[in-house]
Amino acid sequence: MRQGLTLIATALATLFAAAPTHAENPQQWYRDGAATARAGAQLRANRRPAKNVILFVGDGMGLSTVAAARILDGQLRGGKGEENTLSFEKFPYVSLSKTYSVDGQTPDSAPTMTAMMTGIKTNQGVIGVTQDVRYNDCASSRGKGVATLLEMSEAMGLATGIVSTARITHATPAATYSHTANRDWESDAELTAEAKSNGCKDIARQLVEFPFGDGLEVALGGGRSYFIPATANDPEDAGARGRRKDGRDLAGEWASKPASAYVWNKAQFDAIDPRRTHHLLGLFERSHMEYEYDRPTDAGKEPSLAEMTSKAIDVLEGSGRQGYFLMVEGGRIDHAHHAGNAARALTDAIALSDAVKAATRKASLDDTLIIVTADHSHVFTVAGYPDRGNDILGKVVTDGKVALDRNGRPYTTLGYANGPGYRNGTRPDLALVDTGNMNFLQEATVPLESETHAAEDVGIYARGPGAQAFQGVVEQNTIFHVMAQSEQRVGPFLCILFGGCGRTPARVQPPLMVGTLLEAMQPRTPR
């Protein structure tokens, strides 16, 4: 056993060390490539159960975004850029994820994250429910909730947490803990009359009234207004108020429980002692948190995604549980792409890479499965024939000269197939335009107020116990099954329930419904 671990460690160390150096000559290219190949051949799978599972989701972080962010990150470090690797690109197991939903070729974040968290694909716009549910139809969702990995983890006695730079009630984080026929039902103010009359709960309420175990240990992100009443002033923005019409102060309710705390700015966040706080709610903006580029100028001050990830791991480890499940989302990559603003999208993708790096420093390779992926891609391109090391945010320069279109005008390397960057009439002359400006909108071919998602596959990058299960091109819901079969407690439980693990025949038909899991929890002891 010890020999096996040593082999794995040696292989990984070699793999990590095999990234090309800056000494670029034929001999070095050859040696680097050979070292990478040897490391891959020596790689031995870690087949032990995972004590902890961390899932990173770059919202909208398609392959072109990863490539461009890699280059920008490298250039910001003073290199040419292309040779750089983001933290998660060093992970040994890589696969591709097919992101379509049951009723959509190009998906939104609700069915995609549902796939990753429940093991099934579902319809556009719905969260944590089967494809039998009709969008915006509460009645159709009754009894159709599918248990998520986070719910199972909490039910099995593990600690759980979620972190996002978007609202913590936004589709991606919401899919870890909620079940709803409409992703927009984030507070009771958004519920339709039909939803209210049929007993559907808003997403924020589902987070605070989470019925499994003792509730989530960590929830950090934006979306403060969805948790506080419409009659209450916002603590950061004078004159702004909460959204809730039911009068409930959900943040206060969270903080009123034992060993629990609610924070809304960085000073309070920094003051949290993870040894004493076992349930931490942080809501740092009324809606989404700032883009990483704008974060330093935020009035209330916000922690970075890496800081939130580190704190979340500290709280989860400090909980005294036997392990944890953590989901971390870089939620604003998607928004910046929708805005047609590549610079902010890439800056937020780099922030996600930094958060992964923070996690890899804290979580052991031996016992923690870490997966980095995206829910869907965007119509974002890295185009033209720019010279090596050309400014990734700049105009295409080929053989040292600015490349021109057939009208004699320069064009940028980065662009969008559609979106707000469309210019009326002929292309603009970018000769004197600073395309590296953070507010520059890359050109788009089709005029839309908001750029759209794309249907291409996204990457899955994994390391740690169970990561070797990622092979080839997989359906997105496979991500759940890899996490579930690897997690120390959920894996054996699902084996007994559904069979297929060489032990016993299946006892029930999958998937595991929320109602079934809740029944198993009875009698439940409240937190």
Binding site: R183, D184, E236, T277, E290, T297, H335, N439, E449, M521
Partner: protein, 229 residues
């Protein structure tokens, strides 16, 4: 099934009761007031607006931190100074909807608003060139300037106390003040109670929402997120 459920219950054990000792007072919430307190009174101004779209009435409601523009047939447009910058909202009263652009989202789409330009309807650089003059307008002291601004002929009569133009011409656009009054701020602005609000940042994720789909395709008066006129 029973075995599985039993296993689950065994594995779960008693719900954790938490450990005592967190000092909630140590992390007490302290409000930060970086934007001005709500004003007691607001200005209501009605204008005759003439531009390429024709002639119509523009109603402006404003305080030191908020300005709202109402034109028949257009969404109600509001700019509000917040701790992080200027927020812009568009109220679609007939459709019961509201789109909110946070300051950061306006920056991301290249439509960040400069408060001094937005609040006075007129670019602050033009106002700064206006000099004291007579006669008074509707009983208010006025300043005036005329010349060329940004390659267009411009003429401005400016009221310092309201921080609004009495008359502004720029190219073919003409804005003429008809009435000006002070009213309680509580009744000056359009209420967004009952409107379903969504973030501008979320529009792209709302492909199932017919309203959002129209907004994405038409953009409505999206360019007006940067400046009122």
């Amino acid at each position: 099934m029973r075995t599985a459920l039993l296993m689950l219950m065994l594995a779960t054990g008693p719900a954790w009761a938490g450990s005592p000792g967190v000092d909630h007072d140590a992390i007490a919430v302290t409000p930060v007031d970086t934007a001005p307190a709500p004003a007691a009174e607001a200005w209501i101004a009605t204008y005759r607006l003439h531009d390429a779209r024709g002639t119509r009435e523009l109603v402006v409601a404003c305080t030191d931190d908020t300005i709202e523009l109402r034109v028949a047939g257009d969404p109600v447009r509001v700019w509000q100074r917040r701790a992080d910058g200027v927020e812009h909202r568009q109220l679609f009263l007939d459709e019961g909807r509201e789109v909110v652009f946070a300051p950061g989202d306006l920056r991301a789409i290249g439509r960040e608003a400069a408060w001094n330009d937005v609040r006075g309807l007129v670019p602050a650089r033009v106002v700064s060139r206006a000099a004291a003059s007579t006669p008074r307008v509707l009983g208010h002291d006025a300043r005036r300037v005329h010349g060329v601004d940004d390659d267009a002929r411009a003429e401005l009569t400016w009221l310092d106390d309201a921080r609004l133009p009495a008359r502004y011409m720029r190219g073919a656009m003409q804005l003429t003040l008809r009435t000006l009054e002070r009213v309680p701020a509580s009744i000056a602005f359009t209420s967004d109670d009952g409107l379903r609000a969504m973030d501008g940042a979320d529009l792209g994720d709302e492909s199932l929402d017919p309203f959002a789909r129209r907004f994405i395709v038409q953009g409505f008066r999206a360019a007006s997120t940067r400046a009122p006129l």
